[in-house]
Symmetry: C3
Subunit: 502 residues, 3 copies
């Protein structure tokens, strides 16, 4: 953040002059972007100010490519001559590939795209875009809405209800609700529904009407057919590496009881050090230098960033396939299992024909998950990060504990699932045997909370080597076992009731 300070103190008009001449270097703005700024600085001063604080406003791709490979923030060698010599402004991003962009529209004489997509960013950041395509996040939309079981959960959670006799009957899906609940993080399908005229400060203008917009979800389906939103983590319009490295960014989607990574981090030793000393970290440097730039990892350090030691030895390669250093998918449905082979999960099926990578007893379906060898390779990459600060015995035992916790939380989930099966088979709830939604009754929610919240929280705590209470009293083992008792009590109570004379 330090480096932003002097510029931050400049007034905006001065800053813009600076944008053309920063530190004695000529940093040219395209005439198109200059024209954009002419109106939009007045209309959206906050938006423009964010961009003015960005690296994009101060650097040309040509200058970015002059850096040593290890220090480089762009990965495409073939940036066009036109784009190379100006800073990365409004027009440079919002005008790319108009023939792919169904959201392209005529705006004061220019073809402008509303939505800038990962395939646009690939112009300069091709490696990151390609990696992200192998990230399970890039498929977060279809992996959710095209999975019949998850679709059932979405319905049970998001739809309206009305009473009919003793029953609660689910109403229809409501897209606006879905956009701001599940799809807020997973991403929406953004579709062009036509054009509409709007009165503006500059007269009547036409704009595309977009369904599913606004949205910044990680698996957004964009109007150019691409997947994802780089802005999920690199917030508009400063697109900063610093912000993406802050744990707050990940917390937007990873704080709930299902994936409590941020909550666990906050009370882990790593989070304690970050919270206590992080204001003096350099979160902007490339490569990110262990010890010199930071002394405790954030999410990005373990899962994404290019890390080097002070002597410029690479400790971990940059990756936007965030499971690259992850052997396990902790967030199991309903069991933790080895990471899926492919980011696109549409083919995944278990022997009950359910769209899950595990059987109902917890056995992974081998065809869809990575094998032991690949798990070891991923662990090895992660362990190289750990070893920057920890001795071998720490690291080895840490991974033993995690494996143990995965096995034990899965075993308890299995016991709970057997109770749930009995409840279904006794007809105290309608679920798998009846071909019914398995998420819309009280007992089903008790069962769901066991694996979706408490077993997951316990595993995240184990995996992040800290945040003790999230594995005990705060959505941890205490709550897991409590819900198992409650589920069993539910079954026993209804059996007892059945046994009574009518």
């Amino acid at each position: 953040m330090k480096s932003l300070l002097p510029q931050f103190l400049l007034s905006v008009p001065v800053l813009l002059a600076a944008a053309c001449n920063v530190f004695g270097q000529d940093v040219p703005l395209s005439s198109e972007t200059e024209e954009c700024l002419g109106c939009h600085r007045e209309l959206h001063p906050g938006l423009v100010a964010s961009w003015e604080k960005s690296r994009h406003s101060r650097t040309t791709p040509a200058a970015a490519l002059l850096k040593e490979p290890l220090d480089r923030r762009v990965s495409s060698d073939s940036i066009s001559q036109t784009l190379r010599e100006t800073v990365v402004g409004c027009y440079e991003c919002h005008s790319l590939r108009p023939e792919q962009h169904t959201d392209s529209f005529d705006h004061n004489g220019y073809r402008i795209n509303v939505v800038v997509s990962p395939d646009d960013c690939a112009t300069c950041h091709s490696t990151e875009t390609a990696q992200y395509g192998k990230n399970i996040m890039s498929h977060a939309y279809a992996n959710l809405v095209d999975n019949s079981l998850y679709r059932d959960m979405m319905g049970a959670v998001n739809n309206n209800y009305h009473r009919s006799g003793n029953d609660l009957v689910k109403g229809d899906t409501d897209s606006r609700t879905e956009y701001e609940s599940c799809l807020y993080c997973h991403g929406t399908r953004v579709e062009v529904k036509g054009l509409e005229a709007r009165e503006t400060d500059f007269g009547e203008l036409e704009f595309p009407v977009l369904e599913g917009w606004p949205n910044q979800g990680v698996g957004r389906l964009n109007p150019d057919g691409s997947r994802g939103a780089c802005t999920s983590c690199h917030s508009r319009h400063d697109f900063s590496i610093e912000m993406a490295r802050q744990p707050y960014t990940c917390s937007e989607c990873h704080k709930g009881p299902d994936v409590p990574a941020y909550k666990v981090y906050e009370v882990s030793k790593h989070g304690n050090i970050f919270n206590s000393a992080g204001k003096d970290f350099n979160l902007d440097n490339v490569p990110w230098t262990i010890g010199r730039d930071f002394t405790a990892p954030t999410c990005a350090a373990c899962h994404a960033s290019l890390l080097a030691s002070p002597d410029r030895t690479v400790v971990a390669e940059r990756t936007h396939q965030f499971n690259d250093r992850l052997a396990w998918r902790l967030f199991g449905v309903p069991y933790a299992h080895p990471h899926p082979v492919h980011a696109d999960l549409k083919k995944v099926k278990n022997t009950l024909n359910l769209p899950l990578a595990v059987e109902m007893d917890g056995t992974p379906v081998a065809a869809y998950v990575i094998d032991k060898k690949e798990q070891q390779a991923r662990n090895k990459r992660m362990q190289a990060v750990c070893a920057s600060c920890h001795s071998t015995d720490w690291v080895v035992e840490h991974f033993h504990r995690l494996d143990n916790t995965i096995a034990r939380t899965n075993a308890l989930t299995h016991e709970a699932t057997k109770i749930m099966m009995d409840i279904w088979e006794s007809g105290y709830a309608r679920g798998l045997p009846q071909g019914d939604n398995i998420f819309d009754e009280e007992s089903e929610r008790i069962w769901t909370s066991i694996w979706l919240f408490y077993a997951n929280s316990t595993r995240f705590t184990s995996a992040m080597a800290g945040g003790g209470d999230y594995g005990v009293f705060a959505d941890g083992r205490f709550q897991t076992t409590e819900q198992v008792y409650r589920l069993n009590d539910y079954l026993q109570l209804h059996r007892q009731l059945d046994a009574k004379a009518p």
Copy 2:
């Protein structure tokens, strides 16, 4: 915060000299305040140091009034000559309007008030005091304790219990418990109960005995008859605009599951940017300049502050009536509804004669809530803030989503209320039909959690355009529907039990 830095490094004695001569200007202390400081600096070094860091210790009202209207922090033109020419010290605030102050007492030859009230602050900040009087917060005390339904909830939550046969019998109200539970935020009634002598470092002295003190709640009833405590947000004794603009200030009362504004903010994109980049924001500037001073809103930006664009165009006026930009009261009891017309809710009644601004089916009581036109006017003021960074289609669709979520959460609350009515009518709990407390049985708490916690959390998430999980798995739609199942199960179980032979 930056501006505090140099002064912060000065030792306290040097600072005090500086208080009389800051940046070459003569900044005089009144002789009375000098006398106060003589003892209290030794007695309460922390308290005095906070004041020494304040703007009050460095500025005279006369100097404050010299600023351009847009840059001004005081709003009263008629500050008395006596007060104008010294900095705002102990005596300047603690000696005002003694005839109104029942807490005024003789202290070493001066008349001193213990409690400084909004009506005292109005000496320099009259507009803010007047606005705050129209803020529903200023009536938070009576709106709570004089509402018979809320009073029932307070009793069910705060009172002691003892068992009598199979029943739990509520004991008496305990004022100390109320002072630190509900009234901690809502404010207490502070009353003078006499004088008592106390042995001090400076001999025996007499002090007023105050019931309901200490307290800094937003609707405090003060010994001078005024309402509120500016110190709720502008903490003693630095009374800083910076602190009031920090979201942490609002989080003191707006983090619980009933009004989870801060929790939602934290994991919204706005909160992410604030947490990641906020340490470089200028939170002290007046007017608060979008883009230059900050690039993501805090609570104050949307709800209170005077905002300007870098060219000094006013984007939003300062207001201390915080619903000035709010069309809806999201925190519905038990349904979200348009904001009440008046801050004082004592006349509010629905057709069942319940002290609520809605009927039990969710219809607002027109006489007590603002109309569509006023809702639109408030939305328009808010949208001017949004538009500083967001395009029209974002803003418009955001408000559509919010309206939709209000309608849908209200509809689900209505279904739950119908189940609750059946439970009451079947006698499985005693409530409205029996004229009984509706918050003191298990099924009533299930019902209450639906609208008080989970529907509210879902609405706050919608309203703040982020914090996805607080609308899904973290006190959101997942928990709302879960509690609806649970409530219905409660009813069905007891019906089933009734049907069994005795």
Copy 3:
């Protein structure tokens, strides 16, 4: 943090040169430590960088002892000549007292201990080590695992389960699970299990195999027989006083629903001020000067630090017996009670022969808890801290409210316990009367949540004079009473069921 800044910007090699010559002074490194750094800087760059940022890397004990007593950070007068004249490096700590250290091993020609213990730190910090030994935390391991009731809870929470007919049968204890759940905070027993050879970058080397390692819990049993881990709060390898004074450090173990100190702090006025203004606090100064260094307390200010006023009057002595200023043990099992007399609780027994310092009706067992006089002495020490910023009437009434809340939450716990007794005696659960585990059934967990979570949360909110909602809607009185209703409903439902014809 400010003081770290210049050094932070230096590259590591330059910094090391500086380590020998800081600010023109000769700061010598021992030749042994120089040899350690030779390999370990390359192996563990993050670990070494933390140490390089520490005071240990820049100061010799001799220099530390030159300071005025009030400014001193070391408390041992008798530091050996060998240790006095070099900075405190790897070898200085990891080579102490090898005859006590069962984890001592031969490493490249040196005897090295893996685990540095409080008794090693006592070399320079003897007073702190002695105080910590009287801190209940130092006995957190045995106080937990040797208490038969707590052991039952650990089993019910951590062990595996399998179904047997209608019952859930607890499986065996699993040490890896315990290490990362309860013992993560309480500390493990670290034992040497032999030596193993490992292939390293520097050839094959032998290392001790440690059971219960890694761990940084507060009551860790170390291989040298000592108790505790200074690194719980003074994180490796910068061992900073600043970090220990940050509330984030305490939050690692004190954020769960059982001991929600950090959550309460965060939304208290103190926490608000810290969060808003704390980045300008000087958290490193000794003595910690009220007003000048900080204007709101962190955990350390009230419970541990040496505090002085700007004129160097001591306001509170440094203590590592953190209950030194605490009259009550709020975290009651199952009732809050006066603090235990001894840190080691192994002798504690009530008249039912249960290992608790209270009877089942809440009466403290006089023999094991401090008396009123000692409570008053502790309150007086705490009140001296409060009085730095608050007037007498505030402070006095604050402690009245706390006493009241302790009495009332205990009374409600007593009512709940009577319901639980009825459930046991009716055979709807198996517990005390049956000599059975009292934590492994649904009704028992309802009862447990009342005193373990909600009564505790209510008391912490009271004790910390803020965080209102943690005493009301967020794990507070609302939830306490809700669980009492639920427990009573459980009893009534089963009685009703019993009364039905079979």
